[in-house]
């Protein structure tokens, strides 16, 4: 780990001023950043510690029905907030399907948005990686890339964004509140992350020094609470990143879908909102055929980036699964294995 300057600002304004200095990185829980520093992938010259800033750790249920979540709210606290969980169950389910209990207790909402890819070549400083080292090439291409992107990738980068949390956020039109050297602004979460294109090193639209201070879910998002699920396919029952995942949210009136939201995880460098699928579902009966059509639409542009063609079909199937679960209705309480295919449908058994 390189030697770095450690700054503990007392206000958001101080933090932004410190963070605007080139080479700075914001430190939230550090569950991702410190790991990357230990393996030499991240070498910031200064860490600006956000953990002592006042006012970033609240969950406010606002008068208009929106919820505003401070960037320093811990994943576990958010997922277990009764009001939040009731109104945004798919988000809670996604949060609880990620990482381990220990990590969820530490990791923050703001940090989760900005977590880096798990691509092995990104993490291996001896490998070529355009994301880590622009222009060096992409050793993931030609390597074992069965879990890499099938949507939105470029020849410069085939990495995926690993977040579970961001997937329902993209589906539910979350808004990111940002404070920066030039003031405050809001960014739709679906516009927050960038596809690699020719500049994979640019992972989000944040300008240098800009700090995520809060995340907002609009009131409208709570309108899906009765039919909102997150489904996640993974290579062990818990503590694994998604092979593919999907967040589905439906509003069903008189046996018809009046509004549908669908986003996919594990398939691209950003949480993948599937608007084509949503359009295909609007007005349809919540049935298998419609879900399959929606899934086809969601993956219409998919193409393998390597030995991962299987992920395209699995992404369709996880989309169908999430939609099916959502249509069946959000369960009274989240399963003990959130988002897992092994969570009981029939109730009764706990694990």
């Amino acid at each position: 780990m390189n030697r770095f300057e450690y700054v503990r600002p007392r206000s958001v304004a101080e933090a932004v001023a410190a963070g605007a200095v080139p080479g700075s990185a914001y430190l939230a829980a550090g569950t991702n950043l410190l790991d990357l520093m230990k393996i030499g992938v991240a070498r910031p010259g200064r860490l600006v510690d956000l953990n002592h800033l006042p006012g970033l750790d609240g969950i406010e249920h606002q008068a208009d029905g929106a919820v505003r979540i401070g960037a320093q709210v811990r994943n576990a606290d958010l997922a277990h907030d009764p009001g939040f969980r009731r109104r945004f169950p798919a988000v809670a389910e996604a949060l609880l399907s990620g990482a381990s209990a220990q990590l969820r207790n530490a990791a923050t909402v703001g940090g989760n948005l900005l977590q880096r890819t798990r691509c092995a070549w990104f993490q291996d400083t001896a490998s070529a990686c355009n994301r880590r080292d622009p222009g060096s090439g992409c050793d993931a291409r030609g390597g074992e890339n069965r879990l890499h992107a099938v949507l939105g990738w470029s020849e410069h980068c085939i990495a995926t964004h690993p977040s579970d949390f961001c997937v329902p956020l993209a589906a539910l039109d979350a808004v990111v509140e940002v404070e920066g050297p030039t003031g405050r602004r809001e960014i739709a979460l679906r516009d927050f992350h960038l596809l690699p294109g020719t500049t994979p090193e640019r992972e989000s639209v944040l300008a240098p020094g800009e700090l995520v201070v809060a995340l907002r879910l609009p009131a409208e998002a709570a309108g899906f609470a009765a039919h909102a699920r997150y489904a996640k396919l993974r290579e062990r029952t818990s503590y694994a990143f998604a092979v593919v995942s999907a967040a589905a949210a439906l509003r069903i009136v008189d046996g018809r879908i009046v509004a549908a939201r669908l986003a996919l995880g594990g398939v691209a460098a950003k949480p993948w909102r599937a608007e084509e699928a949503e359009a295909a579902l609007a007005g349809a009966a919540p049935e298998a055929a419609a879900f399959r059509r929606a899934a086809e639409a969601a993956l219409a542009a998919a193409r393998p980036s390597g030995d991962n063609a299987f992920k395209i079909e699995l992404a369709r199937r996880i989309a169908v699964r999430a939609l099916t679960l959502a249509a069946a209705g959000t369960p009274e309480r989240l399963p003990a294995l959130p988002a897992s295919p092994f969570a009981p449908l029939s109730g009764g058994r706990h694990v």
Binding site: R236, S238, A240, V243, R317
Partner: protein
């Protein structure tokens, strides 16, 4: 259950005593090697190679040395001379070491420099600043590498080829034939405690805190390498955070010792998790082809088990996967053959059940395939081919309660009523359900060990043997044996272990530690009791005077006449009257070659698995595991059950999770951390049960112990593979099972 059955009055052996180290461990007081911080300690960090073949052309030593806090950088040029070349194997079970002897790189992850600094952080950063330049050559790191050779031996001296009967004739005569190839992955050691050392020199004496599974062997090799007397090396290894075959002497530990010598200060060197993927041995991949023939009634006519595996380009260890076919199933013709290829990797080595684990998953899968071909229930098929004598040697088994294992396991699991055809069972949520069985086996091995036992005038006892507690509970089990051997209650016994100054307890390996060191302890205690008895029966003032002919028994701190237990005397009284502070016994144990000549000696077991598979997504979960094992005498059923659980969970890992993704272009492992190198988590093992099947073995050794450390991993992986087939109808032959194999 088994616990009560095995409890005997007045005996510690057989009792489910809790771990003596349990409280220390759950309260963080157990001091592992890296917890030691002698005054003046410096931190050493390895720089390791990122190429797998070639040479280190340059290191930026000035940059590393200039980093604040750095004391020294050890490289080939300033590394102290050794008395023995690191490639020379002066002791058994050892491998060539990479000790900065030259600029050559033989695998990725090989140490190429050691940075010594005031802090771990400074040493780590300075190691990165070395920024090596390499001259890299092309690498081969997979079993698809061209070439190969037929090895004379595999494992530790097992024959590379074994033929019993005429396999081709057996296959020709068969009514059913199957031929299938199974692949097992590259796996790396991931004990919770990484390899490390805290080394302190005082003149030519060396004090080490270092985990090792073989105190005496480690000390001998270190003495030879360093050119100092073995008696001047003092290794403390009271607690080992898992060894599994990887913790004999490793190269990085020697580098830590050399670093301490170089700077004249105590040095701590501990591997990072990622650095364990290279210099501390691994399990090599295998590609195994099974050809089986069976008659119409399901009797096997031939087994041919062929293995292709790999070793490093510079050293030899070949995973002896075909060995399981020598012992498990009766067939008139059995052949095992091997081929090997040399790769640009670290040298493979012992990883829990080396050979049996990888071979078992292939053999058990093939047996299942043949059972299906014969239209038979897989358990019935196994019983149809039950080996009454060891098939290849024709020797009788010293004991074999495998039939009882099958019966007790099947009953507990509820095997009866299993549909013969696959893809017949679903749970209430529509998940596919399948049941599979696998046979477990592991040889009963003995090494050599010594022990010392003392009876003291205060009525307490002392047993000393340099045994190794790797987390398996050895400290507790040996104390139980020691207490019984001295006729003392457990709380009257002091047991000293985990130190190289104590009597040589051999190695904790091959599932043979309890049998071997336990035998030595038992003999030492018996000798101490015999000496005390001599004193008592010759003393007219003793109530035992003249009892020499009828004999005495030792129990509860007293010697008692065998014919009249009301007549006896406390040890303390005998010693006091004789004016002695103590009496001492010494004991040793080793394999009995005569018994080994007459009998085949193996532990056995049967593992039953239930898996559920999501029919669309292909995600798999082993929802139930039941293992029934017969391994001779059980010293401590609580600890043994725990060993079986651990083995079975590793078997599950073998079938479903564990695999190193080595980039074939570079030879680097791309998932060298526990986030990406998957092992099971709690949610993957919702239900594991182990049944201890009664088995008495009068031949295997004095205590009748077969060993339990490794058998659990065998059988389990195959049972899960077979359950997956039964759930889905798809036979997976490459492990671990990838999600895309079923999700299509």
């Amino acid at each position: 259950m088994s616990e009560t059955r095995q409890m005997r009055h007045g005996s510690s052996i057989g009792q489910p005593v809790t771990r003596r180290d349990g409280l220390l461990k759950v309260t963080g007081q157990a001091r592992f090697a890296a917890d030691n911080h002698p005054a003046g300690l410096l931190h050493a960090v390895l720089a390791v190679s990122r190429i797998a073949r070639g040479r280190v052309a340059a290191l930026d030593l000035p940059a590393a040395r200039a980093h604040p806090g750095v004391v020294e950088v050890m490289v080939t040029a300033n590394r102290l001379a050794l008395a023995l070349h690191p490639d020379d194997k002066s002791v058994p079970f050892s491998f060539k070491l990479d000790l900065l002897q030259d600029d050559r790189v033989r695998y990725a992850g090989q140490p190429i420099a050691v940075v010594i600094a005031a802090t771990l952080e400074a040493a780590t950063e300075a190691a990165a600043l070395l920024a090596p330049r390499y001259e890299a050559g092309p690498v081969e790191v997979t079993l698809d590498a061209p070439g190969g050779y037929v090895p004379e031996s595999v494992g530790v001296g097992d024959p590379g080829e074994m033929r019993h009967g005429d396999v081709e004739a057996g296959l020709r005569a068969a009514a059913r034939r199957i031929e299938a190839t199974y692949e097992t992955p590259l796996q790396f050691h991931n004990a919770m405690e990484p390899h490390g050392v805290v080394a302190a020199w005082e003149g030519d004496a060396l004090s080490l805190d270092m985990p090792t599974q073989g105190l005496a062997l480690t000390r001998m090799r270190l003495a030879a390498l360093l050119g100092i007397r073995a008696e001047d090396i003092h290794i403390r290894s009271p607690f080992i955070g898992g060894g599994f075959g990887s913790k004999l002497l490793s190269g990085p530990q020697v580098l830590g010792i050399l670093a301490a010598r170089l700077v004249g200060r105590p040095v701590k060197l501990v591997l990072t998790r990622a650095q364990m993927y290279g210099p501390v041995t691994h399990r090599s991949p295998t590609r195994q082809t099974l050809r089986l023939g069976a008659a119409r009634d399901g009797a096997l006519t031939a087994i041919h088990h062929h293995v292709r595996t790999a070793t490093s380009r510079h050293d030899d260890f070949l995973e002896p996967s075909a060995g399981v076919s020598h012992t498990l199933y009766a067939a008139p013709a059995i052949a095992t053959t091997n081929e090997a290829v040399r790769l640009d990797t670290g040298t493979p080595g012992f990883m829990r059940a080396p050979g049996e684990a990888s071979g078992s998953i292939a053999l058990e899968s093939a047996i299942d395939e043949m059972a299906h071909a014969c239209g038979m229930d897989p358990l019935e098929f196994r019983l149809r081919n039950y080996a009454e004598v060891e098939p290849v040697s024709g020797k009788p088994f010293s004991s074999k309660a495998l039939r009882e294992c099958y019966a007790e396991g099947a009953a507990r699991f509820g095997w009866a009523g299993r549909p013969l055809a696959p893809r017949q069972m679903r749970d209430e949520d529509g998940l596919l359900v399948g049941w599979g069985v696998g046979t477990a086996t592991f040889p009963a091995i003995m090494f050599q060990a010594e022990a010392r036992a003392v009876l003291r005038r205060d009525g307490t006892g002392l047993v000393e043997s340099g045994t190794h507690d790797m987390g398996q509970g050895a400290w507790t089990a040996f104390a139980q044996i020691g207490a019984d051997s001295l006729g003392l209650d457990l709380d009257r016994l002091e047991f000293r272990a985990g130190h190289s100054d104590l009597p040589n307890a051999g190695i904790a390996g091959g599932s043979g530690h309890t049998a071997t060191a336990g035998g030595a302890i038992h003999a030492a205690g018996a000798q101490a009791i015999a000496r005390l008895t001599e004193i008592a029966v010759a003393d007219p003032r003793s109530p035992l005077f003249g009892a020499g002919n009828v004999g005495v028994v030792a129990r509860g701190g007293r010697l008692l006449r065998r014919d009249d237990e009301s007549r006896g005397e406390a040890y303390a009284d005998i010693l006091a009257r004789a004016g002695l502070d103590s009496v001492e016994g010494r004991g040793s144990a080793a394999a009995d070659p005569a018994a080994a000549e007459r009998y085949a000696m193996h532990a056995h077991g049967a593992v039953f698995a239930e898996v559920k598979v999501d029919p669309e997504l292909g995600q798999i979960r082993a929802t139930r595991l039941v293992g029934a094992f017969a391994a001779g005498r059980i010293i401590n059923p609580r600890l043994v059950r725990s060993q079986y659980y651990g083995g079975m969970i590793w078997g599950l890992s073998f079938a479903l999770h564990e695999r190193a993704a080595m980039d074939p272009r570079t030879g680097r492992v791309m998932n060298a951390d526990l986030a990406e190198y998957h092992v099971p988590v709690n949610a993957d093992v919702p239900s594991v049960e182990a049944i201890l099947v009664e088995e008495q073995d009068p031949h295997v050794n004095a205590l009748g112990i077969k060993g339990v450390g490794e058998i659990g991993i065998t059988g389990t992986a195959g049972a899960i593979a077979n359950a997956i087939w039964h759930a889905t109808g798809t036979r997976i032959r490459r492990f671990p099972v990838a999600i895309e194999e079923l999700g299509r």
